[in-house]
Every structure is written in structure tokens, then in C-alpha cells.
Amino acid sequence: MKRVTILAKVDPNICTGCKICEKVCPVYAVKVSDRKSQVSEPDCRGCANCADRCPVHAITMVKRAEPFTVGVDVSRFDPGEIKELCAKAHFNPEQVLCYCVSVRAEEVAAAILEGCDTPDKISSRTGIRTGCSIECIQPILRLLAAAGIPLKPDLNGWQWYGQTVTAWTLPQEVKNKYGSRGFYFEEDKALLEQIAAIDPAQ
């Protein structure tokens, strides 16, 4: 869940139509047409990626006149299904996935159960990855993959490229090779599994 309080505003007199803003927007809320960038106000989630990467500083973040909240009501879904999907991705349902806006695994799972089948739809619906937009991409991809949804990166954008290694897919020979250098691979995997298995209600 996120309170969306700010909005990207383009100055068309400065914009050169380079399309960088399009490629970095996690929710596809900005589009360039006729060599000018335009923000779809209802869709913008206020992450400031476009403003911070525009090479000519054509975008500024402004306060929304009418802030709103996005989020999925987890209670509308079967807790068993949520738990199962989170467990498949090795997450505890209540663990926080997005450190900027505190979206938890259960809310992303609920968004997927609701029909979101891409990272951008999940971000738009829950607000996840619209703070720093960096750290929570892998959990989103892990949960989508756990739901059996094929991951298809946008070849024209830089939104995300692909899923990566996890504690569960680290090759054994790598663990053997580097385990004595201070990396606690097995212990950390066990810790993450312990967290995932906890019943938050207890």
C-alpha cells in the first residue's frame, strides 16, 4: 500500500523527446509522442525515476492536489492461497518486500491472485517499487515465477531484465569454493527458510 502524494510534471519547452523517461518508468505512466513527453497523471506513482534520469531536467516532482492511496485488500483473498504462493517463493507473507513503502509479500501475492501478471501491474496496484525502484524487483519476479507466470522483459525499455540467483539456486560448487571466505551461504538459507515458515499470528 502506498500513499501517492507526488506527481511528475514535464516542461514541454525543455523536453527533447529522448525517451529515457519512458524506459525507466516502472509503471509505464510516461510516454513520448510527437517528440514530447507526457505523464498520465492517474497512473503516475511518484517514484521520480523520470525526473532523476531526464538528461535535460525537463521533469520536476510536484505535490498532488488530491493524494490517493493504492493497495490491494489482502483480506479479500484466501489466506491459504496467499500463504502457499509466498511459501513457493520462500517468503513469509508478512515480510516486507519494499523498504520504501512497506509493501509486504502477502499484498504482492494478493495482487497476483487478483490478476496482475507483470511487475508494472503489481507496482501500479500496490505501490511496490515506486520508492527507490531498485531493491524489490527480485521478490516481485520470484512471486510471479512462483505463480507460474512467464517473465517477459520489455526489450524496448530498461524497466527490468531478468530473474537472478537465490539462496535456493546457488550452485553447490560455488558454495564449496567460497564458503571458507566468510560467506555464510547455508546458514543464511536456513535463516530465510526459518523466517518463511513462521506463522505471523503466533
Binding site: 508478512e94 527507490c132 524489490c136 520470484r142 527490468w160 560467506f183
Partner: protein, 496 residues
Amino acid sequence: MTSQMMINQGIKHSPILPIGPKPSQYGIDPALVKKRVAELPGMCSLQLSELFPELPPVLFPGGSGALERLYEVAMEELRKVDMSFIQPNHSVNLLASHHGFTLLGGQPYAILLKATREAILEKTGCKNIRLRAGVGMRFRETEEYIKRYGLEECFGQGKTKGVAPIDEGIAIETEVGTLYGIKSVYDADWIVHCHHTDVREVHFHRQVDKAVKPFGMSYARIETRSTYHQNLGPRAANFTARAIFESEFVQNKFAFASFLNVGPHGVIGVDADNDLYAVNDRATFIGCQLYGKVMTLFGKIGECIAVLDFPCPVPYVFSAGVIYANFAGANQDLYDMEGTPLPPYTWYTEAFYKKDGTPLLGEIPPLNPAIKMCVHNYAWTGYPSAFFSDHIPTVVVGQEQSDLFDMEPMNIEYMSHSVVAKTTESAMDFAYKVTGTDKVIIFDGAMGGLNCSQSLADLLIAKAPEVSEEVEKVLMPKWFRQRGVDMSILETLSHR
């Protein structure tokens, strides 16, 4: 006056001039920072070289001419590095990270970058030398530093670039599958890793492969950084960096490492080497000795008011070379891989708090309970910091600062947990009254030591000798064993 009090009086000095506020999109206008907490009555400073006399001498801070001397030392060290494979018609990317510019006013790191460029030019005749400066979460930060330290004038127009993890990426095949780097970091024949030995985020890297970290962080795309912070666990995370550095792609481009060798008290020298792992060993193990003592000493503080007063985001303000994020975890030994699987603050820990505000696992340690209140006199946005204000009572000075946090995507909720005071003085009065303590530690980047209240200074002076012994005799042997070496490694590593 007792003899101990007289000794203390000799060690306590008047406050060190804090690092000044800096113009930045991440902080308030410097003109709005009316008062620094170090200027208030009852504050003093301690020099780290007096608390821990065994610390090696520093080049900087070191009076007038110190920066010029640093440039010369850097050139001397860099001339010893093999650059014979760089041809005059090649291209070279110097890779830098934002952290370096937050150290000791930023000039020493800027000087290292300038010297590294000059040494390459001098030794190889190669002129196509560019700067690629990576960031944490503030995508414009190094653009600001490039301007502030005149780096474009030095490298030439169009040769400097601030790069961000959402920029176009490049797939890198590694031993653990595909990871992703920032394309423009690698768009040259050679790369030179320009970094520093400052400990900074022990909660993240756990002093394992510290010198390699930027390959998995400031030079990396979001997919890689998310792998680090979400996929591997709190003590395996930094392997992401090694996986990328070990890849054939990076090895084929890697020329050498050029490091500012720093301690909590200043710049010790420059460490330049073709072998990054040699630098890494020096940074890791000598680093335990240099920073481990201050970290452990800070863990002995039983109660205090923590003041943020430095041009950096909340977790990254410095006191005696220690960042606030690590002081917030100083109730645990952050170097202890087995005793502290989850530090009180790290993102894995933050993730493991339930909706009702309690930790999922009973063993998760709280944020340092010694911090009775945080007075946020001056610190930047640009890093998700609501966890701190949610867990530590926080007073923010000035409505402008409060408004800035409310407008920032990573901190929409920071002020939901904080109160605002109109002035620095009223914030401190409030903190004194509510907490009942007169111990104050100031994170204002004071060079060479730290600013604090008289009462806290007395405590730190009293504890320093026993901490020094505990670190040397008990903690370091344990830390080293956990990292696969024993204390004899120190004899084989020398300060550069």
C-alpha cells in the same frame, strides 16, 4: 578535581568544525541550517589518535598542503602499478562511487580520481580516460559531485557521467548465472576500480569482500542489487559482488584498483594494485583493527541522544568514521558472523518485522536501545529511512526539512513517525528533558575524531583502553577465524 578528571580534561578539546551543509537536491538549502549542534554549550571533541594511540598517522587532515601531499603520494603509488597493457588508442573508464565523496569533505577522493587519471596518462599516453561515477539511491548525487569537485574540467567535456542502477544494463555471465551491470560502466577497453577502504556499511557487507562491493552495487543494475538485498541472506549478500568481479567479462576489462586508504581518523595513504584481492585483504583485515575499536567503543554507550548533522541521508551521517546505521546496530557485534546473523539494522532485518510492529523471530535484536532520542538537525533524503523514525523517537529541526521528506518517494512515511522542532536549541532542550540524559553523540563528520557532550566524552575516554584490549585479544581473533584466516595475516599485510 581527581587525577582522572585532569587526564580527561587534557584529552577533551573544543568542538571540531563539522562538515558544512552542502547545496543538493537531497537536502535543504544550506542557508536554512542556522545552527550546528557542536556549537551548543556543553559540547567538546575527542581525537581518535588520543583515544587509540596505536592508530597509524594520517596524511589528511594534516594542515595546509595535506591535499597536495596526498596527490603526490597517490602518484607515487600509481606509478608502481603495471599499466603496460593500456595502449594510447584504448579507452579507460575510472569507476567511482558516491561514498568516496562523503569522506572527510570529499576532496581526498576527488584528488585520488584526478591523480589516477593523470598517472594513466603519464604512464600509457592514453588520453581517452572517462569517469563513471555510480550512486546508491540518489540518482543525481554523483552528478552533483562531478560539478562540485571540478571533475569535468579535469577529465574533459563529455568524459564524466553519473550513472544509476536504472540506466541501460548489460548482462554479465557469472558462476551463479546472469547478473546485470550498468552498460556505461563497462563501455571502455579497460576499467579502473577507484574506491576507498572506509568501512561504512558493515551491516550490509559484514566486512567480507568489502573492497569488491561496488561491482554488486554502485556499478550494478537493479536486478543485481536486489539479488544482494533480497535473494541471498544477510551474510551471503556480498557474494553478488564477487560473482560479477570474477566473471570473464569483468576480468577481461579490469586494469587495476586505486584506493584511498582511510581509517576512522583520516586518510592514511593510497593503495593501488593490479590485484584487487590483495587490496581487499588489506582493507578487510587491517580495517577490522582500525574501525573495530571505534565500533566496539560505541557499543559501550548505555544511553545517549544521537544527533544527525551531516550532508548525507539519515543512515549515512558520520561520527568517528562510523555511520549512524551502524550506531543503530552497535548493541550487537556487527563483525560477528555467528553471534549476529541479523544485525539490528539491515534490510533483511527490516523486512522481518510484522504488521503489528514486532519481529517475526524472537532473536531479532532491537535497534540500539541506548539511543533514547534522535535529533535530526540536518540530514538528507534519498534513502528509505522511516524504519529509523518508526523505531527511535525522532525530532526533526525545521518545517522545511520535514516538508522535504514528505516530498521524497523513499520517505513518504518518515515524518509520520517524527515530530518537528522550530530550532536546534528547542530540539535539544526537548531531547534533554524527555530522555533525562546529558550524553550526546553528534554525527557531523568532524574530521579526526568526534564531537560529543562532556559526559559522553568522559565515558568514551574511560572505556577506550579496555575496548582496545578486548578487540585485539578477543574479538579480532574471532572475526578473523570467521573469515578463514588467523591473526598472523596482519604480519603479511602492510599499510600502504
